[in-house]
Structures are given as structure tokens and as C-alpha cells.
């Protein structure tokens, strides 16, 4: 398997190491009591946020251990550290009521003690394998995530296409540099029809410091739809002419009707489902422009220290935002006359 040149920038949930949390367990003297104990514990002390933990762990030659309760009362992430000399009072209480409810003799369970168990449900096979070293956990594999992580998400043909669009973006970056602009180029593509909607580059050194490559690109797409908010004239830029209806009457024409106005919606909406190829990781402003514009995927080459797609934030998967998109960083190299791959 070749290492992928396109590295997915995923939510931290998929990238983090296994975090541990202290739990009280007790050893079961007679393993025939396990089922009863599990049943009673489920009502007495539900696992709550720790549903991914299996209640019992059968140890080779060491009998069976059963989870009683977390060392700390359940709360949101980021809680303070527990005192190391904390007593096991809550666990003992649980144990007492457990014995009372099951009517088992006190000798059937050991005194509670602490073990470290995985705090979060595993989101990847790697996390699952690591988590399982500490305590048995359940794992629901997300096929798409696994594929993304395997480095085999894109076919060789797709990689070639992505690479060529990125090279076009590099050409725009070079053009920008030659004009004394920040060397950031952008190409916005409709992947469904495999055609370029807009090409442009950074203009922040000009009249408006907000003319970052992404802001420019988004406005060029608006122009392709008969809109636009800025006057952007540059001989290197490209804007696809507005679509005419073709013979079938369906190209870029959605059949949906805006109920409130009674008018048929014409053409694409913002940058919905478009692919964005940009030579540098966008800043937070530009990332949010991509969210508002509802892009489908973003491919970038160089990371940026305050970038919003992996370096400083992950705005494309930010909780609370109404639109998310996929992001890939190109880590491969290519020979290209005009570019400096660093």
C-alpha cells in the first residue's frame, strides 16, 4: 500500500490517543454470579456516558472483574483531577447495595479498587486496539472513516485529477507572486461535471486587505452566477460564463420551486458541493467563508500556523456550525516549473 499523498483532516475524535479514566472494579469470587451482578448493576449504576465499556472483564487465570462506578461522579469533559488519596466511599456504597440487592454473600465480591479504563468510545480501529489493552470496549466501525484512514480513499485516477487542479492553483499562486501579492492561488471546481467555475489568487496587498484567495474565489463564483460583491479585474482570473439552459433544460437548473416567492430557483446555490483547491490552508475568515458558501471538499497544500482547517482550528468539523465539509492536505510532491514546493 502506497502512503497517501492526500491526508484527510479529520475531527479530533478520530485522531486523539486513548484517554483514560479511573473506575472502581471488584473481582467476582464465583463467576456463576456474573449475570446476576451485571443485571443488578445496570439498574443500580448505569454506565451513562461510558456505554462503550463492557461491564465485565474475564481475566485469564485471574477470574472476572466487574465495573462498579466511575471514581468521579459523571460530568462533562475537562473536569479537575481527582485527589489521589480519595476514599472509595462511593464504590463501597455501590458494593453494599449491590450485595443487598442480589442477596449474595459479602465474600462473593472483593473490596473495590481502581483501574484505568478508556474514557471515550473508540472511533477508529487503531483506537479500538489501544483501548482494548486497558478494558474491553465495544466498537462500531465507520466504514468511510476507515477507508479515509487507509489511504485508499481515492482511486489513482482521482488522485491524478486532484493533483492537476492543485497544480493549476499553484500556477495562480505563482502569478500572484509575480504581481507582489501573497502567493496563494485558488481553483473552484464543480466535481459533478468536472469543470472549473473560477480561478483566482490572493489580492490582499491591493485595495482591500480582505481580498484573500478564498474570498476572491468565492466572489468569482458569485460572478459566475450573475452576482458578486467586489470589482475584481485580473487578466489571470477565470470565471465560467453563466450557464444557459441546455436542450434537456436541466443543466444547473434545479427543479425545486421557492414556495414563498413562487419563482423557480435557477442555477447553483453559492458554492454548494463545489471542490476548492487552494495552495495554502485558509485563515479562519476564509474557512468560515467556505462554511457559509457550503462547499463540498477542500484540498490545500501548505499548512498555516493560524489556519482553520487543521492547524489552529478545524472549522470544517466545528460543533455547532450548520455545514461541514471534507478537507484533505496534499503532502505529495511534483515537478512543476513555476512552483516552490516548500
Amino acid at each position: 500500500m502506497m502512503p497517501s499523498e492526500l491526508v484527510p483532516v479529520l475531527d479530533d475524535v478520530y485522531c486523539r490517543p486513548v484517554h483514560l479514566v479511573d473506575f472502581y472494579v471488584s473481582s467476582i469470587g464465583d463467576r456463576r454470579h456474573t449475570a446476576t451482578l451485571v443485571r443488578v448493576l445496570t439498574t443500580l449504576h448505569p454506565l451513562g456516558q461510558y456505554q462503550h465499556l463492557k461491564r465485565v472483564r474475564a481475566m485469564k487465570n485471574k477470574g472476572v472483574r466487574i465495573l462498579l462506578c466511575p471514581a468521579e461522579p459523571q460530568q462533562k469533559a475537562g473536569e479537575a483531577q481527582r485527589d489521589s488519596d480519595n476514599s472509595c466511599a462511593p464504590a463501597c456504597t455501590t458494593l453494599t447495595s449491590l450485595l443487598k440487592n442480589t442477596k449474595l454473600p459479602a465474600s462473593s465480591l472483593s473490596k473495590p479498587y481502581l483501574v484505568k479504563v478508556p474514557r471515550h468510545p473508540p472511533a477508529t480501529r487503531k483506537q479500538y486496539d489501544e483501548a482494548s489493552l486497558y478494558w474491553p470496549v465495544t466498537f462500531h466501525e465507520d466504514k468511510e472513516i476507515s477507508q479515509l484512514l487507509s489511504g485508499e480513499f481515492f482511486s489513482a485516477e482521482e488522485v491524478q485529477k486532484i493533483k492537476s487542479y492543485l497544480q493549476e492553483a499553484e500556477t495562480m499562486a505563482t502569478a500572484a507572486a509575480q504581481k507582489g501579492q501573497e502567493p496563494v492561488g485558488i481553483v473552484i471546481v464543480d466535481p459533478e461535471r468536472d469543470r472549473t467555475i473560477a480561478k483566482g489568487h490572493d489580492l490582499r496587498q491591493g485595495k482591500n486587505p480582505l481580498h484573500h484567495a478564498v474570498m476572491v474565489g468565492v466572489d468569482l463564483v458569485a460572478k459566475s452566477q450573475g452576482g458578486g460583491m467586489w470589482t475584481l479585474t485580473d487578466s489571470d482570473f477565470y470565471v465560467r460564463p453563466e450557464e444557459q439552459m441546455d436542450s434537456k433544460g436541466d443543466v444547473h437548473r434545479s427543479s425545486s420551486t421557492d414556495v414563498s416567492s413562487g419563482k423557480e430557483k435557477v442555477g447553483p446555490y453559492l458554492c454548494t458541493a463545489y471542490d476548492v483547491y487552494v495552495t495554502q490552508e485558509p485563515c479562519p475568515m476564509c474557512c468560515m467563508a467556505l462554511v457559509h458558501s457550503r462547499v463540498g471538499r477542500v484540498f490545500y497544500i501548505k499548512p498555516h500556523v493560524d489556519g482553520g482547517l487543521g492547524s489552529r482550528y478545524k472549522i470544517h468539523v466545528q460543533n455547532g456550525l450548520n455545514h461541514h465539509f471534507s478537507v484533505f492536505q496534499w503532502t505529495g510532491t511534483w515537478r512543476h516549473n513555476n512552483t516552490d514546493p516548500t
Binding site: N208, L210, M215, D219, A222, M229, M285, V305, Q318, G320
Partner: protein
């Protein structure tokens, strides 16, 4: 506070103007040396550009004002106060920070897109390449700003007399709806 109310009242007028044009009702004013130098309302639908937020529109007008009046743009931005009816979104907060705007006064929070603490805190997070952080004053005439947003999202006629308006559950669901800003 008196000044805040005075300017926010005017910003609300621009939000109302945006509403009348079928845009999300957000309005803003840049104040420089106690004078209004630029205003803006959302123009997303008009421009087919989802980044045509009131602040972005007004930032460009400040630049035009500076050019017309022979002011150094950088110096002016460092001394302005922005009055905006809704918490700037992540995009606008980053833009304002990049322009070195030192103070932003806003009305209601923006729980869907807010960049001054609601979703991210672009106003204050350490972001050396984006520029200095800025101060905020929030909650100035928030109820009025929320009322305008509700009229937009519920398709109410903002000009109907109070007693004719539909009485919908209007608890404190601050901002709502899509693409606030």
C-alpha cells in the same frame, strides 16, 4: 451607554432596511471620532455571495471613505468602533480583527455562527498572524435585534401593528434560523 444606544438605534435601522430587501436583518455602523463613516446591511441574496455580511460591506465603505477623505486607512480602522445588531460571525470577527478594529459593540448573540464566543472566540483567541484581539460590548438593544431576526425567519410582516402580529412562542431563543450572518 447613551452613545451605544444612539448608534445601535441607527444600526437597527440598517438591519430593518436589509429586512425590507429580503436579506437577513443585520445592520452595522462604523463610528470614527464620534461620526458615522460607513454603514452596512446584509447583501447575501443580492450578490449571491454568502460572505456579503453587513460588516464586510461596511468595511469596504470605510476604505472608500478613507480614500475620498484622504485618511490613512490603517490609522482609521485602529480608532473606529463598530456597532452591529448581531454578534459578528466567525468570518466577520476574523475580518474585523485583521483590520485592527479595537472595539465591537453588538446586540444579540449569534449562536449559530458567532465568532465572539458563541461558536469560537476569534475576538480573543491568540492568533498572531490575524492581528490584535478586540474588545466587545454585548447585549446593547439585543431584544430589538432578536425581534428583527424573528420577523425574518417567521415571515412576519415587520410593519404590522403590534396587536396584529402573530403571537408566537418567543422565549429567549436568541438568534435562530439560517445564515444569520
Amino acid at each position: 451607554m447613551g452613545d451605544h444606544i444612539k448608534w445601535m438605534t441607527k444600526a437597527l435601522d440598517y438591519a430593518d432596511e436589509a429586512l425590507k430587501k429580503g436579506e437577513v436583518p443585520v445592520g452595522c455602523i462604523f463610528v470614527y471620532e464620534d461620526e458615522e463613516i460607513a454603514t452596512g446591511g446584509n447583501r447575501v441574496n443580492e450578490t449571491k455571495n454568502a460572505t456579503s455580511h453587513a460588516e464586510i460591506v461596511a468595511i469596504e465603505k470605510v476604505m472608500n471613505w478613507c480614500a475620498e477623505n484622504g485618511h490613512d486607512q490603517r490609522e482609521v480602522f485602529r480608532q473606529v468602533t463598530l456597532y452591529v445588531t448581531v454578534e459578528p460571525c466567525i468570518l466577520c470577527a476574523a475580518a474585523l480583527r485583521q483590520m485592527s478594529v479595537p472595539l465591537v459593540v453588538y446586540g444579540c448573540g449569534n449562536e449559530r455562527f458567532g465568532g465572539c464566543g458563541s461558536i469560537l472566540n476569534i475576538a480573543r483567541d491568540p492568533l498572531p498572524s490575524v492581528g490584535e484581539s478586540f474588545d466587545i460590548v454585548k447585549g446593547v438593544m439585543a431584544e430589538e435585534a432578536v425581534l428583527l431576526l424573528k420577523q425574518f425567519y417567521k415571515g412576519e410582516n415587520p410593519h404590522a401593528p403590534e396587536d396584529k402580529r402573530k403571537s408566537k412562542k418567543s422565549k429567549d431563543d436568541q438568534t435562530s434560523g439560517e445564515d444569520v450572518h
